[in-house]
């Protein structure tokens, strides 16, 4: 039978059931008539014939039922019946249904909201083709991880490596380029990549093409691939941008392609240009500033590839012992390398979501159990009337599934609302991430969660509700006593809920404490009222160091004259805003240390007054002076960390140090270490050279204000425009917002966790309340009797409260026991907060205890309001 006919007849029997039944009636009637006629013809009297024919036909209803059972759509039909019946029962108990649906909707909605947030913000971070074949290569010294790879070494690996389909490299940092032409000059971040980087990742441009191998050759026409964002801002998304010329730092580049909107690798870049065999970075094998990224050939394992590059590393070590002895390339999966920082947060959030959903499930399972008890007599009746246990189970499961699927639908609405809250709390939009939306993936997720939840909450109550012996049940149905086993089950569920909630509360408490520590951590400089920005002057306008120094000195003076400005300074890199740039440094009288043994610290160059403006305290010696200009002896200010490493405890003032083998400096002062790279690292060791002696054409500017820092953006911009319209003043931000970015990821985790703990707490309170309220309703008789015997309101209150607090207490103990191993997982995220922080534990227990007491009080108070006469009359 062809499939379509089967489908048609199934539908026919489902939707034309009445018509089919009528036709069957007619057919049977005609059968009876024909048979009667036959029998009359055979000589029977009409009455006799009619009776005989009836007997022969048997029960008309039975025949009809048999026909119905054999119809194609029979299974679908009972499902239909179950569903209709389930809807009817659920509608009849509207109160129960609404509460159960709401609880589940909160659980499912929260899960969906977080899922879609995680899905867009964190999970879809690797939009590359076959990501499992992508690897990253990092340099090791004598087996110890060390980081970036030398460009010169990379080209050898690329040439001799046999395990890779492609092996690409990119510089570990972007370089700012000035784009001339257009309305105003502007600054862009350029990423340096080898020609095959995009090919390796399997990321294709949306317009144009990516780089070609011959474009890497020295002397070929300069080409660039631009980002989607820059395409929009500079070219307005015009496809004609491909083929046009972009003037980068005075050199015309031909735009050959535009990368997709969400393309990002390692860091954000506006344009990409080529690394080639001549540079620009790592002129020697002992300079290391590139990431290596590769795509394994199909079928080649990471181990095989590692063996392959190890052979190359040893060959290089033999050939270039000075630079390559003990150096090797360690391969790792790109995916695990990229998500190493967020993996823990992700696991944590996922785990939390599951816990919250479990708590919601516990509530609904408790409700279903309670209701199952009330329906025992109904079930007994149905089973006495011949319904099989399977049929009853199916009926009950259909009910809970309908409940959860409806809850899932409502949950989607909840998810929309919650997502609004999440988006308001989290800086996701600001970070330039795609705004999370509840998409088809999230909806599919919701559906899956709903169905799994339905089975989860339905199975145990359904099994419990259909086990009892119908005869016994029918006999005792009139008596409303609490079923001990079922009540124990529900109490167990509440204990688990309390335990999960308290564990969640402790977890979020610890994270909040860490966050507070992090926000109040001593940075080593003062971030308040500090406006920062990027400055770039055209080197063609200021060809000499003197001219450039003159510009910066006069600019700082003019800015300091503005109302609301306390002081202003510049630096090659401001703390937190820009990281790293660590150079080696050693006492000048010592020989150059080997690359494995050298000490490096953050290299900064600053004008006089920098430390005062930034709020970095002096320990000894003096500041860089206005007289420390080119031609005068080179001076340097060290931070304590450098002094400790280089000179032990002895006074360094007046000693000479060698920086990166470049030149020697006289130490004039010592300042405190400050957190230069990130909040989470210990304060970094740094050394500060004279800005004037370095004579750069670009700098980051910091302005200490006595007013709201953003109020000065306009006046400074005006001042610059008057002074020199070709100066680029960009990426203006307050230090406070820079710091905010540093903790943004952490804040996502914390806010989600707090939100979820709150939902968990509410659900647990509802669960406790539900169990106790039911408990009270089942003990009404007993309470009535106790009242009659003279129990006071206080006695009754205490009796019910004791039971509730007993449950909560068990849950608290269990939760405390579970929290400790749980917080060990958190340890990595904690900041100066011990996993066993007593304040957090006490706070969480106290808070939950309070909420539990409130949830218990209402039913207990109800117990005291029982109308004695009413209860006793019922008895």
């Amino acid at each position: 039978m062809p499939a379509y006919r089967r489908i048609i007849s199934t539908f026919r029997s489902l939707f034309r059931k009445e018509e089919l039944d009528r036709e069957l009636d007619e057919e049977l009637a005609s059968y009876l008539e024909l048979l009667t006629a036959e029998k009359i013809r055979a000589g029977m009297s009409p009455e006799e014939a009619r009776r005989e024919a009836r007997l022969e036909l048997g029960g008309v209803e039975q025949v009809k039922e048999k026909v119905r059972e054999r119809r194609v759509g029979a299974v679908a039909d009972t499902l239909f019946q179950d569903t209709r019946y389930a809807f009817r029962t659920l509608m009849k108990n509207a109160g129960f249904t609404v509460v159960a649906v709401l609880i589940l909707a909160i659980g499912i909605g929260a899960t969906t909201a977080l899922f879609s947030t995680i899905n867009t913000a964190l999970l879809s971070g690797l939009p590359y083709k076959d990501p499992d074949r992508l690897i990253v290569g990092l340099k090791t010294w004598d087996g110890a991880m060390s980081g970036p790879v030398s460009r010169v070494d990379y080209f050898d690996y690329r040439e001799y490596g046999r395990s890779f389909e492609e092996l690409a490299a990119l510089a570990t940092f972007t370089v700012q380029h000035t784009v001339m032409g257009g309305r105003r000059p502007e600054l862009v971040d350029a990423g340096y990549v080898t020609w095959n980087l995009f090919r390796t990742l399997g990321a294709n441009p949306v317009v144009g093409r990516h780089f070609q191998p011959e474009e890497e050759m020295p002397g070929s026409t300069p080409v660039t691939v631009i980002s989607y964002g820059y395409w929009q801002s500079r070219f307005g998304g015009d496809p004609g941008a491909v083929g046009s010329t972009l003037n980068l730092n005075g050199t015309p580049f031909t735009v050959v392609g535009v990368m997709p909107a969400r393309f990002r690798f390692m860091y954000d870049a506006d344009v990409w240009r080529l690394v080639d065999r001549e540079g620009p970075f790592d002129t020697e094998r002992d300079s290391h500033s590139h990431f290596v990224v590769g795509r394994l050939k199909p079928g080649v394992t990471l181990e095989q590839a590692q063996g392959d590059v190890d052979a190359i590393s040893s060959a290089l070590a033999e050939q270039y012992p000075d630079s390559n002895a003990g150096k090797a390339l360690l391969l790792a999966e790109l995916q695990s390398f990229m998500v190493r920082d967020v993996r823990l947060s992700l696991l944590l959030l996922m785990g939390t979501t599951v816990l919250v959903l479990l708590i919601a499930c516990g509530n609904v399972a408790g409700l279903l159990l309670a209701r199952g008890e009330r329906r025992l007599s109904e079930m007994a009746m149905r089973s006495a009337l011949g319904a099989s246990r399977r049929r009853l189970l199916r009926q009950l499961l259909t009910e809970s599934l309908i409940l959860t699927v409806v809850a899932g639908l409502v949950g989607i609405t909840v998810a929309y609302l919650l997502q609004g809250v999440i988006l308001q709390l989290l800086p996701i939009g600001e970070l330039g991430m795609e705004r999370p939306v509840i998409d088809s993936a999230a909806l599919a997720f919701t559906l899956l969660v709903s169905i799994v939840t339905g089975l989860l909450v339905g199975v145990i109550p359904a099994l419990r509700g259909t086990t009892t012996d119908p005869a016994q049940q029918l006999r005792s149905a009139a008596r409303a006593s609490e079923d001990v086993r079922s009540s124990r089950l529900r109490s167990g569920l509440v204990v688990l809920q309390v335990a999960l909630s308290v564990a969640l509360l402790i977890g979020s408490g610890l994270l909040i404490r860490s966050f507070a520590e992090l926000s109040t951590v001593d940075l080593g400089f003062d971030p308040e009222n500090l406006l920062t920005g990027q400055l770039q002057i055209q080197i063609s306008q200021y060809p000499t160091t003197e001219e450039r120094n003159q510009f910066f000195t006069s600019l700082l003076e003019e800015i300091e004259a503005l109302p609301g400005v306390v002081s202003a300074t510049v630096a090659n890199r401001l703390p937190i805003r820009s990281r790293w740039q660590d150079w080696s440094i050693w006492p000048a009288e010592q020989p150059t240390p080997s690359p494995q043994e050298d000490f490096s610290a953050m290299a900064r160059w600053v004008p006089p007054g920098y430390f005062e403006t930034m709020g970095i305290p002096f320990i000894s010696g003096s500041d860089i002076a206005a007289t420390d200009v080119p031609g005068s002896p080179y001076v340097i200010v060290l931070s304590e960390g450098v002094v400790r490493a280089l000179f032990g405890g002895s006074n360094p003032i007046g000693r000479m140090v060698n920086v990166a083998g470049w030149r020697t400096f006289e130490v004039v002062g010592v300042v405190r270490d400050a957190r230069i790279n990130t909040l989470r690292r210990e304060p970094d060791a740094a050394f500060y050279m004279s800005h004037a002696q370095m004579g750069p054409s670009s700098a980051q500017i910091a302005i200490r204000t006595s007013v709201e820092p953003t109020a000065l953006v306009g006046p400074i911009d005006d001042l610059l425009l008057r002074k020199d319209p070709n100066v680029l003043f960009s990426k203006v931000r307050t230090m406070a917002s820079v710091l905010d970015d540093g903790v943004a990821d952490f804040r996502i985790v914390i806010l989600s966790l707090v939100l979820f703990s709150f939902v968990a707490l509410v659900l647990t309170a509802i669960g406790l309340y539900g169990v106790l309220a039911y408990h009270v309703s089942q003990r009404l008789n007993e309470i009535g009797v106790r009242m009659a015997m003279g129990a006071s309101n206080g006695d009754l209150l205490a009796m019910i409260l004791r039971r509730g607090m007993l449950l909560a207490g068990f849950g608290l103990l269990l939760g405390l026991a579970a929290a400790y191993p749980g917080t060990l997982v958190l340890r990595q995220l904690l900041f100066e907060t011990p996993p066993l922080d007593p304040a957090t534990y006490v706070g969480a227990v106290g808070f939950l205890g309070l909420v539990a007491a409130l949830a218990c009080f209402l039913p207990a108070w109800r117990a005291t309001q029982v109308d004695l006469v009413e209860v006793l009359r019922k008895e």
Partner: protein, 110 residues
């Protein structure tokens, strides 16, 4: 013994109905009377098994029912074989021949 007889009937009822209808369209009573008559009363098809089988076969598309007049001017639902039913009958016949052959071999084995 009676049980075994109905089992055999159950397995082959479809085939018997199809075969019967392949000769001429008949109404329900006609089908059961024809089977009883041809088998010399060995198979008596009761309405309780006849109608479910007829409706099943109709849903499968092997037979087609339409209302018509009986010989003595009474309304009755007549069933006739469709072309799909004819093919089905062919298959059933081949299967049946195989079953009979197999059983005969077993029973005659010495």
């Amino acid at each position: 013994m009676a049980e075994a007889k109905t089992d055999l009937l159950r397995g082959t009822l479809d085939m018997l109905i199809l075969k019967t209808l392949s000769l001429q369209p008949l109404h329900g009573l006609g089908v059961s009377q024809r089977i009883q008559q041809v088998t010399g009363g060995v198979f008596q098809v009761k309405p309780g098994s006849l109608f479910p089988a007829l409706h099943r076969l109709e849903q499968e598309g092997w037979i087609e029912g339409s209302w018509g007049e009986s010989a003595n001017n009474r309304r009755a639902k007549y069933y006739r074989l469709t072309s799909a039913g004819r093919r089905r009958l062919g298959e059933e016949k081949r299967n049946w021949a195989q079953v009979v052959l197999a059983i005969t071999k077993v029973m005659e084995a010495t």
